[in-house]
Symmetry: C2
Subunit: 456 residues, 2 copies
Amino acid sequence: MTVNGEFNHDMRRVPTGEFMTPSRKTNGVGVQAEDTKICVVMVGLPARGKSLIAQKVVRYLHWLSIKAKTFNVGQYRRTNTPNPSADFFDTSNSEGERLRRAAAEAAVNDMCKWFAEGQGLIAILDATNSTKKRRRWIQERCDAEGIETLFVESKCDDEDIIMSNILEVKTTSPDYVGQDPESAAQDFRNRIRNYERVYQTIDEDEFDLTYVKLIDVGKHVIINQIQDYLQSRVVYYLMNLHIRPRSIWLSRHGESQYNLNGKIGGDAELSERGEMYARALPGLVKQSVGDSRKLTVWTSTLRRTIATARFLEFEKLEWKALDELDSGVCDGLTYAEIEERYPDDFKQRDEDKYNYRYLGGESYRDVVIRLEPIIMELERSENILIVTHQAILRCIYAYFMNVPQERSPWMEVPLHTLIKLTPKAYSTQEERLKADIPAVSTFREKGSSAKHQEAA
Amino acid sequence: MTVNGEFNHDMRRVPTGEFMTPSRKTNGVGVQAEDTKICVVMVGLPARGKSLIAQKVVRYLHWLSIKAKTFNVGQYRRTNTPNPSADFFDTSNSEGERLRRAAAEAAVNDMCKWFAEGQGLIAILDATNSTKKRRRWIQERCDAEGIETLFVESKCDDEDIIMSNILEVKTTSPDYVGQDPESAAQDFRNRIRNYERVYQTIDEDEFDLTYVKLIDVGKHVIINQIQDYLQSRVVYYLMNLHIRPRSIWLSRHGESQYNLNGKIGGDAELSERGEMYARALPGLVKQSVGDSRKLTVWTSTLRRTIATARFLEFEKLEWKALDELDSGVCDGLTYAEIEERYPDDFKQRDEDKYNYRYLGGESYRDVVIRLEPIIMELERSENILIVTHQAILRCIYAYFMNVPQERSPWMEVPLHTLIKLTPKAYSTQEERLKADIPAVSTFREKGSSAKHQEAA
């Protein structure tokens, strides 16, 4: 039953003798009815970024505290056929056809079980689903289980993007482990050709389906029959994606006067060593980025990030939304002072750091909400270097690296270190480049109120 | 220059002798560069809901603290031709053609002036803009002024919707003031026919434009070349709209035990009189809604709203996002106690109630952010009755009635009153239905800490 469904006749008598209809609850995010189940069905030829899109949607939903999971039909197929050649995907190969159909059924069965056990709200069925027949079958299976379907087709005729996806697949796909890259690429091209023969794009025949067509991801989008808020939220995210290769660089500001004194918050200047980091940063960036690539630098509106970025010869943008987590009444205090003045709060924060909101300030959960526009704009952008603050960097990092909420506020993100994140189809690659400039460690372990320590 | 534009070569020497590129700032909402200017250009035949859509976008943006304004070409035209007949809109009428073109030019000129004076970020150009030539002209004018264009076409072939729009226009449009309704409707149909003769839908020729096509508003959406976050935000809102006629009903919970004691926050039960209101509400709703219409009831997750709605025989949904503004450390206190214990905070709150965040709690601004999913889902829905709390109701009411931020936290929303809001093309109609059940007034004037008073 959907939120906007028919009047509910399932009334029950209550002690007062009055008629009542039972209420249904929205989930923790306050976004949607508890009983929402959405299957996002990927559609498209190989090398159109489907897996990348699927993984991103799941990461994004996790980051927003919405439980989601990808069911990758290829992974099910690999249990029987770990390294198939292109022939396996030829529709005239009836044994291949049977095994591929069995893999799809196994994936859908596991997905239905996952929903029935109440394990999540959104499942992504990652496969080519390239025929109308296959899509109709999925929709009917889902209908029978009370699962909404949202078909997401990725169409792309940009040869550069396809080739770069092919190159990536041949180096990262489990199908081609240990094989010669050139023959892997050739085989993969043949596999695509086999799919092209039977591929049917979503069209007017399927007007009753809820679907999104992403054409040259991000350029042109067609949306049909969106049914509810959570679907529209996913579609909004999809609208903002692109699949051109790029990297994101993250750095905290250089060591500040407050860092030296162990104080939190504030709008302090850089320390002498922080200043050294600011001067070293252009070299560090050049080393990591190379000469040829364009880059935009984002900072917060606080002095320590602006000062840190000031020698970078790129376009810059200051974002209020990148300002450090607001520590409210604790702004300008050391952890020892906070423990002394607000002992209960200090303890509470340790117990649930993600949800703890400083008096008059913010929680990590609050920060995630205000960072959402940043994440959307990051998705729209290409190469971006963000110079920001510890808590903010943790939240952004958690988004890209799929770090669970309970862990993200405790991650160590040292000063004077440039982090490079490169989204790939099956994961995000990370590199860290440390400047040879000492700084205090601002990492505080659970239960500790020690003044910031000199890093090893 | 756009956020993702070319590397900025406009470097300047700084005192330290290093090269620096100047930073640009994002606006207060942290959403977009300060210098963003977007012209939303409406496209479509008369009676396709263009003005309704334009007004809604402006209201929504104001609610999110983004400055926006509609420039309605019809209003400019009316200064010369207040009550034109359908012939005026015949393209073979060259004098009509000249006057209509002059009106469009006047509107675009005023809009450019408005942007140049830094008065806002988003302008809506509300007119039919039904030919490719006209759209190209607007795009070129905007390009020259550094204004981005976002074309929004509303296409609709649903005769029921068109007829209901025609009926509304004949009764509310300034063009037909004082005229016989039947002949007004006939004339308006002829006017539409004149437009149909020259109407060109947005198509492949215009692939270089940024556009959204809304087909049967809300059912099918085509999006092309969205350029930045603020555009994608507007598009997301448009995606969620429909223009079917409907109403929204708002009610606070019945009087609670806390209301009686003058305490704020908490999760109290209803008072005896609150209980009477709960029992009277189904009759009140029937009186306002009528018998035939379907309705869904939304409540918060707090006991006083659930108890108030419990005798309503409609489908119900509990939303965490509808819970009362979190008053943090002040939860459970009276205003007199707050003034005594937190005198500075009490004063601060009076000075800027919209932005004041209770220690460990929320501000009205925070509430607006968490209510956004509610507003989106409300836009997607048809007839909804919301039983909620004073601050939440003020924010929702402010959205529909376009109440400015500084006023909304001070609005009087009495207990035991059912408010009916009906969105129309040119405004939202309001009716209030008072239950004949006395209750305390929970309205506090600026500077006052008086205990809640018995309402007159």
